[in-house]
């Protein structure tokens, strides 16, 4: 193992881990803001109880999101110092702006929201969660603009004397065609996760309460039915959003990173019209399928927008790249790209399907899970639903980052050239093992805590009163 491999594993592991918390945060903050707005508008206590309940889950998740976020910023310098030197003039700016514009907003206004229930007037308190929500979206935009530069470098020039890329047009970086399609795709992906968590948790409670007849249970059922519908509709609408924006992304990708598109299908020879294979048995890289389900013309449509469009194959692109960039292997890890692309689509589609079934189960005044068999299936669905879009988000990122390899900045800098030259194997190994152990322990703690608070159910409604200065705080650590 070289420091390069360990540094790549560390970046992959810490980023995938961090990105479990990000979509939950972004998805849930908007839904909590919507629930609180509904309470503010209607005065209906169900919405207040739901705001508090999902707000608590949101905060448990957010704690780990911010804690693991600092690692992301630091490790560019720690493990990838030559990368940082090479792109810092361009890449650093969106990162710094993300901190200044977004992180300050999120942290300050969430602090105000958490501790301000009995300090701020209701409208001002409501504004705090919306400002925090806007902060998460801003943050997503700037970090995706930085990432999009790595996929499709624009607005720069290469300074041979200093051996680095230099910014020439900041607007071009912020309006990179990749970020324009990636941002909505990512946001819809996050909303799917938030919606799925709300729907899954609500369904679980509806099933738990389905035989209770007392008044409390009836009130809870009514609240969770509303939440379930909100969550399920969010999953389905955002799911449609990811499909539309994903389709736009595929066309941009075909244009700027054709190798990634070819790797998504393991298409070795240039083909027109090109089919898409949802499923393959054979060699793991799809080069010699023994059994394959193929949808004719579909890849052509995904890549080019025309059912008969020509899609370049891996072998032709490899030759082309060798002529442009010199000898080398320009193919990404095909099994990884091929399968993560499918799993992303499959998990996302499955989430939409489960959400649809759940929505159907609450039609008119029906009670979900009236039959034991139905209850069993819905219960399994409630557990699976939040995990499906979360997995889809992960697979999507693994696909897009692994599909860029062997480049760290496409066409400009190979990943192997970006690693810190002075950092030793022992150092990277220490931090890799350290972060892995710490993250593992924290994952167990976090999941257990989330489950505890999910089981607790809806908190009582007592509406917040402005503080007299003597009574205990409405919220305290």
């Amino acid at each position: 193992m070289e420091a390069l491999d360990l540094a790549r594993w560390q970046f992959g592991a810490t980023t995938v881990y961090h990105y479990f918390f990000v979509p939950v945060t972004i998805g849930l903050v908007f839904l909590v803001a919507i629930l609180q707005t509904a309470w503010h508008r209607t005065g209906d206590e169900r919405y207040l109880r739901l705001t508090r309940f999902f707000g608590k889950l949101f905060l448990i998740n957010f704690a780990l999101g911010i804690a693991t976020g600092i690692v992301q910023e630091f490790q560019f310098g720690m493990n990838w110092s030559d990368y940082s030197r090479f792109v810092g003039d361009i890449f650093g700016a969106p990162l710094a702006i993300e901190g200044l514009l977004a992180f300050f907003l999120e942290s300050t206004f969430l602090g105000l929201w958490i501790f301000g229930w009995d300090r701020l007037r209701p409208a001002l308190h409501l504004a705090c969660i919306w400002i925090a929500a806007v902060g998460t979206a801003l943050s997503a935009y700037f970090i995706l603009a930085a990432n999009s530069f790595m996929q499709n470098p624009v607005g720069y020039t290469f300074d041979a004397e200093r051996g680095r890329a230099e910014l020439t047009d900041f607007m071009a970086v912020l309006t990179n065609k990749v970020v324009l399609v990636t941002f909505p795709h990512t946001m819809f992906g996050c909303f799917m996760v938030g919606g799925a968590l709300v729907a899954g948790v609500s369904m679980w409670h509806l099933l738990r309460l389905r035989d209770s007849t007392d008044d409390d249970a009836r009130l809870d059922r009514s609240a969770f039915t509303t939440a379930l519908r909100l969550g399920a509709v969010t999953v389905m609408l955002s799911g449609l959003g990811t499909i539309v924006t994903g389709d736009m992304q595929a066309k941009v990708m075909t244009e700027v990173q054709p190798m990634k598109m070819a790797a998504a299908e393991a298409l070795y020879e240039t083909t027109a019209p090109a089919p898409f294979s949802p499923f393959t048995l054979g060699t793991p890289d799809g080069s010699e399928p023994t059994f394959q389900v193929e949808v004719p013309h579909l890849l052509s449509f995904m890549a080019t927008g025309s059912w008969d469009g020509e899609v370049e194959g891996i072998n032709d692109l490899q030759e082309e790249y060798q002529q442009t960039y010199g000898p080398g292997d320009y193919r990404p890890n095909i099994p990884v790209t091929y399968w993560t692309f499918r799993w992303m689509i499959g998990a996302g589609a499955a989430a939409m399907g489960v959400a649809l079934i759940m929505l159907w189960s609450t039609r008119r005044s029906r009670r979900p899970g009236a039959t034991p068999r139905g209850a069993r299936w819905l219960g399994a669905g409630a557990i699976a639903l939040p995990l499906l879009p979360l997995a889809a988000n992960s697979f999507g990122w693994i696909f897009t980052e692994m599909g860029r390899q062997p480049w760290v900045v496409f066409g400009l800098m190979p990943t192997s050239a970006g690693v810190s030259p002075g950092t030793t194997v022992a150092e990277v190994a220490t931090s890799l093992v350290g972060f892995t152990l710490l993250y593992g322990v924290l994952a167990v703690v976090e999941v257990k805590l989330l489950l505890t608070y999910i089981r607790k159910g809806l908190p009582p409604a007592d509406p917040p009163v402005l503080h007299d200065g003597e009574s205990p705080l409405a919220f305290a650590y």
Partner: protein, 340 residues
């Protein structure tokens, strides 16, 4: 003024903001072990920083991002060179952040005790290591002609650096105790004040030694001046603590931390990371900087948004200005015996 100088000043300003603000919440974290006598008092301490500690930490994130954007070579050399200390700081900050958020989420004493250890360690370790890191930056570390750090971990633990670390740790502890005395009422407030006085004597001795060493090395009048200001402000802060003027005491310790940070950055300029091997290999505001175009964009962003950020952060401090007492802390529910 050149934009590289502007950005050097801005980054110094971000460090001032970070150390003054997170300085007191590191201090409050450390006090969980020595000041609080029971669970309610520990919760009281945490709630004094509850609404603001996360925003305080963002100053660090922005300082890091600004260094990356304005001086990529500095960011790259510093972060890869100080690898293991930064790894420890990251682990500490993670454990601390999760501890603050999770501690009160379960009633079991064992759960809370464990997170207390995490919060205390997670406050002491970065408080010490930031002092070590800043002292090393000022003093110079082995950097070769390729702008690469070529030293070892032991090079980072020289006597000056260790003194720097002890200074930040003890000063933050006092700063935190003064903050607690300002933000609480009742018995905790009285004890915080007494503790600030006792720890303040030790911190003052360490700080004066560190300031003298730094200024003697730099030999500049301005460095001596800023150092003297820091020492005077700290002593004035202790005097105000003794007289029970907690607001002025906090101003004193805050100004002291700001002045020490300013002193360190002043003695650094125009280098950002001097090389101990050859002055020709120093990283400076010129050879480590981004292009003027990038700096210009970043300057506009900073000009518009920094006042806004400072404004709403100040407002959040105003919203939570009231003193807290143990009677404001709600009872925790009894430990659950079943899962439900």
């Amino acid at each position: 003024m050149e934009l590289t100088t502007v950005w050097f000043l801005l980054i110094a300003g971000l460090w001032v903001g970070y150390l003054v603000l997170e300085g007191f919440d590191f201090g409050v974290g450390m006090l969980m072990g020595v000041l609080a006598r029971d669970d309610k008092e520990r919760r009281l301490l945490l709630n004094t920083i509850g609404p603001v500690w996360d925003g305080n930490e963002v100053w660090l994130v922005v300082a890091g991002g600004a260094t990356f954007a304005a001086f990529p070579e500095w960011y790259a050399t510093l972060f890869s060179g100080f690898y293991l200390p930064l790894f420890l700081i990251l682990v500490a900050l993670i454990v601390r952040a999760v501890g603050i958020e999770f501690r009160g989420k379960r009633p079991e004493p064992e759960w809370r005790r464990r997170w207390d250890v995490g919060i205390i360690a997670g406050s002491v370790v970065p408080a010490f290591l930031w002092g070590v890191a800043l002292a090393n930056i000022v003093r110079g570390v082995p950097i070769d002609a390729d702008k690469e750090f070529v030293g070892s971990l032991l090079d980072l633990l020289g006597p000056y650096a260790v003194l720097g670390g002890l200074t930040t740790t003890s000063v933050f502890l006092v700063h935190g105790a003064v903050f607690v005395s300002l933000k609480t009422e009742g018995d905790v407030r009285v004890r915080a004040r007494a503790l600030a006085m006792r720890a303040g004597v030790v911190a003052a001795a360490l700080a004066v030694a560190f300031i003298t060493w730094t200024a003697a090395d730099a030999g500049e009048a301005a460095v001596w001046g800023l150092g003297a200001l820091a020492a005077a402000a700290f002593l004035a802060g202790l005097g105000a603590t003794w007289r029970g003027r907690e607001g002025w005491a906090f101003v004193g310790t805050a100004v002291a931390i700001a002045a020490v940070t300013a002193m360190l950055f002043w003695s650094l300029f125009p280098a950002v990371m001097p090389s101990s091997l050859d002055p020709a290999w120093d990283l400076t505001t010129t050879n480590a900087a981004s292009t003027p175009y990038t700096l210009k964009i970043m300057t506009w962003v900073a000009v518009f948004f920094t006042p806004l950020v400072v404004g709403y952060q100040a407002w959040s401090y105003w919203v939570f200005r009231r003193r807290l007492g143990v009677h404001h802390i709600p009872d925790s529910p009894a430990p659950a015996t079943t899962g439900h």
